[in-house]
Symmetry: C2
Subunit: 176 residues, 2 copies
DNA sequence: ATTATCGGTCAACATGACTGACATAGTTTT
DNA sequence: AAAACTATGTCAGTCATGTTGACCGATAAT
């Protein structure tokens, strides 16, 4: 599909002509816009479902990551979400009050509160994740595995180093 | 690099074995997380610069799209941002008060207010866009043009149909 | 002349972020 | 055992950014 020579990591080796193929200002602005619109459209369906239940995107994130890693501690959740404990507390307390999440005391360190989804929480998590998985499944199968690979590579390169380390740790089957 | 048969649009034709290669739940959750973290890290640097100037991400969006399309109308901006005119008004008024943006009356339709960046606005827009372009330029040159192509294909497939139409219109050089 | 559109404004409200100070329980260090 | 540190929670106040609903003036379209 594309048969031009690829610039390699040493940017000095690629001619300005090669660079122009995908490093021009216009092409980079296209990337910015694509990411903005894709993120907006991607979250829209889930946001709608959440607002029916008087929940917001912040609740979604908590439910998602607790479902992703049952027994996660509050500290670990804070590190993932990059928000303050006061912000998390409001959302988390509400989810506990409404019986989406339960806490249990850490068996080794009794200060910790290990978080788990209830059946109600797991059911909602599944609905929300299904919506987003379906969108990706459509995109992935429309475009094929080479596109998927490129997509994951570029997004991985956009990450901060510490985020990349975190993701490598929680997706051990993947290289990158 | 990848030599398996790709599942095509008709999902019935791909075996569960093929699907397992990139449509498994775990792989799709990886996509969700990658998008979440990439968006978060991608916006971080610009957010920092903005907060030094007592501006927020909403101001950034307005400045970006006015810089992208000088003379854009308020209506068009509303359609792009998917927010209410009251929300836009607060942000836009502030940007006009602080001399980042000027309005001029539409020459054909005098009801319209055509928006332009001032020198001050253009200077800020350049700084912000440079930050984000640099991040993409690094990712793009690290991973090469095939990855870029895949990245753009998948993001394009994630969009709602009307967003895709809009992007096609404003990036006429691109196929997709 | 009527109606519709573009843009702006006032008021009230919700969400989800922030800072700073402080509290309580439990763990670790000295 | 005492002191220091850590995990978590809470109170109080603030800010940014979104929402709804009502209404207005200027202008354009019918």
């Amino acid at each position: 599909m594309t048969d031009i020579v690829l610039p390699q990591k040493q940017s000095g080796t690629s001619s300005s002509r090669e660079k122009g193929l995908f490093l021009r200002r216009q092409e980079l602005r296209r990337a910015i816009e694509l990411l903005f619109f894709a993120y907006r459209d991607f979250t829209y369906e889930a946001d709608e479902l959440l607002s029916d239940l008087d929940l917001g995107r912040a609740h979604h994130r908590v439910i998602y990551f607790v479902g992703r890693q049952p027994g996660i501690t509050v500290s670990d959740l804070l590190a993932i979400l990059h928000i303050t404990k006061q912000s998390l507390s409001r959302v988390l307390s509400h989810l506990i009050d409404e019986n989406y999440i339960i806490q249990e005391t850490g068996p080794r360190d009794r200060r910790q509160r290990l978080l788990h989804l209830t059946d109600k929480g797991a059911s909602l998590e599944k609905k929300l994740t299904d919506l987003q998985c379906n969108r990706f499944a459509r995109a992935y199968s429309d475009r094929g595995i080479d596109a998927v690979d490129g997509f994951q590579q570029i997004l991985t390169s956009l990450l901060d180093d510490d985020t990349r380390s975190h993701l490598r740790a929680v997706h051990p089957d993947r290289i990158d």
